[in-house]
Symmetry: C2
Subunit: 332 residues, 2 copies
DNA sequence: GGGTCTTGCCAATACGTATTTGCACCCCAT
DNA sequence: ATGGGGTGCAAATACGTATTGGCAAGACCC
């Protein structure tokens, strides 16, 4: 910028006034033009680090996720990255497999990060002190302590239950992670609540918890299959587990949806590419990421506008090939 | 840091010497201890932005990828993020769906980034001028202009060809992207070279190009099916395309591997979860990302050590359910 | 006991930009 | 002509840390 100023025959502060396009900048049009021309001539690019130091804003967001390889998470990232990037913010990616939430937050704080998006992190796990003074938005999580963007997980569980019930299933099971994430808890609660309303109680051996991955779904399904009293309808808290379960059923010689119906949750792209195609509850992952980023940017730029107005994003049932009438089993 | 210095009764520069652990720092042990104690007392955290300004190093890497949602890319990211993070570097994620490579590089340069990892970006597309003065490592790409870490893509193509040939297939096809990425070009070249060596020429209608996604694989497969003279063995340049093709075959009423054999490439986790399980060539994605990050860190920290020593990472065939003997078709 | 060396610290400066303050200068009204 | 108000710019300062140079005080030599 010194070079620009020298070339335009003005002082550095004047060049700064012009280039930062200050609102109440009183600069003569001719001078302004000279500075802009000089900047264009030498291809001036501002040093964001220096700007960050004086303005005490890094124009960067932290994006903390449990696992980049989870397709749902990848969708969330895509939505958030796009919004942030278009607003001129950089995205610092932090994977929890590398280090814990608290440690990542330390690093981000040291970098004077403007805000943090927390994806798929259970609110109870959050170290409140590590978050002190950090602007944060939770993704697909609800908390009265921090703003968040969430999907209607309760409805997701209900939709899955209603779908299976309407197909005539009475022998039902739930497969989900041991996570304390709000989204997972609510999917489970919505499901079991609807079962209770239909007069069905979920035995504990039909409530299987495991890691929210294909492997976890596989292991949970194995336990369901060997546990006796095989269920005919299964709701899996996410599609990865559902696919693991699906695969395990096929390996065990079961046919879907004849012998067993499976309903997943999230509707990742993959759900349409397994065989049979997975019936699931669609969660708008990209939209969650995008809205969370937008909310965070508002919190950063529009002062203490704490009106998070957390609205639940709607979910919907996508009936495909892994769910079918329970009577099929009886008649076959 | 001023507070730390005041608390320890020393000047700010002295505190800096202690806290930055300078090699030829001549500080009395007692003083050093006082400073460290003071820093611990008030929970001092360095301001990385200010450090970046003086040291002219941001301790941050750019990671430029075509699409976070591609599982192969997600694996690469995981590997790179882990290495960078453990070395104390932040990772700025840039998705090409947001803006072009050149624009991302501008932004990264303005942020005084220390280096850039370019994942799955064709070397020919690279704007050489936008890369001037930026330390960069290409991932799964080869170039005599920039250092890189790549897999043995030629061998991958050969392995696929040898596998299909050894199963007796003679009616072969290739499905790949129109990308000019080295990895894809070599996978194709290795495949076709082996076919030629076996006296088989690939007709143009059996060389289908499309987007490297499931949809692309689906569309390419549809063209193969409707083009007459259906091939019995197909090599798809990545697993996503292979899965799209697989799915399309199943929908068309074909059985795998009885009617058609498919070999994918990359061995993403998903390959084991489609039905039948996908035969594929395993590419060490995470290792690629990790090695690329390590090489970049070397270039950054160890001076102009241009000895990139680009070694090709080995690939291997993983035979699963989508490939079988060609004679099966004849006898069925 | 005066000189050279070493040790341990601080003062000064730099990094590149933003912001505040103050000073010329000109225009116009009285 | 003179004072007041506005305009356009530069000087000074700040952001938080790293680095250089130099200055005291002590150790050591003859």
């Amino acid at each position: 910028m010194h070079d620009v100023a020298a070339r335009a025959g003005v002082s550095q502060p004047t060049a700064s006034l012009v280039l930062s396009n200050h609102p109440h900048a009183r600069v003569a049009p001719a001078t302004r033009a000279r500075v802009l021309q000089a900047a264009a001539d030498i291809g001036y690019q501002p040093n964001v680090v220096a700007q960050s130091l004086t303005r005490r804003r890094s124009f960067a967001l932290g994006l903390l996720v449990p696992d980049v390889r989870n397709p749902f998470v990848a969708d969330v990232i895509t939505g958030a990255e796009r919004v942030a990037s278009e607003a001129g913010y950089a995205v610092l990616l932090c994977d929890q497999s590398t280090r814990g939430v608290a440690q990542h937050l330390e690093v981000l704080r040291a970098r004077q990060i403007d805000g943090v998006l927390l994806g798929a992190v259970g609110a109870r796990d959050l170290p409140a002190d590590a978050l002190a003074g950090v602007k944060v938005v939770l993704i697909d999580e609800l908390s009265d302590q921090w703003p968040s963007i969430a999907s209607d997980a309760l409805a997701a569980g209900r939709l899955a239950a209603d779908h299976l019930l309407s197909l005539g299933h009475r022998e039902l099971a739930y497969v989900g992670p041991a996570s304390d994430m709000h989204a997972f808890r609510m999917r489970e609660r919505g499901f079991t609540a609807r079962l209770r309303a239909a007069g069905i109680a979920l035995e504990s051996r039909r409530l299987q918890r495991d890691w929210p991955t294909m492997e976890g779904g596989r292991d949970a399904m194995r336990r369901l299959l060997t546990g006796g009293a095989r269920p005919t309808g299964i709701f899996c808290a996410n599609d990865l587990m559902a696919i693991g379960a699906l695969k395990t059923c096929l390996r065990a010689g079961l046919a879907l949806p004849r012998d067993v119906s499976i309903v997943g949750c999230e509707d990742i792209e993959l759900a349409r590419y397994v065989t049979p195609e997975l019936t699931t509850i669609a969660i708008p992952a990209r939209e969650l990421g995008a809205r969370a980023a937008r909310l965070l940017l508002q919190l950063i730029e529009d002062a203490p506008q704490r009106v998070s107005a957390t609205r639940l994003l709607p979910v919907r049932l996508v009936a495909r090939g892994t769910s079918g009438s329970a009577s099929q089993e009886m008649t076959s």
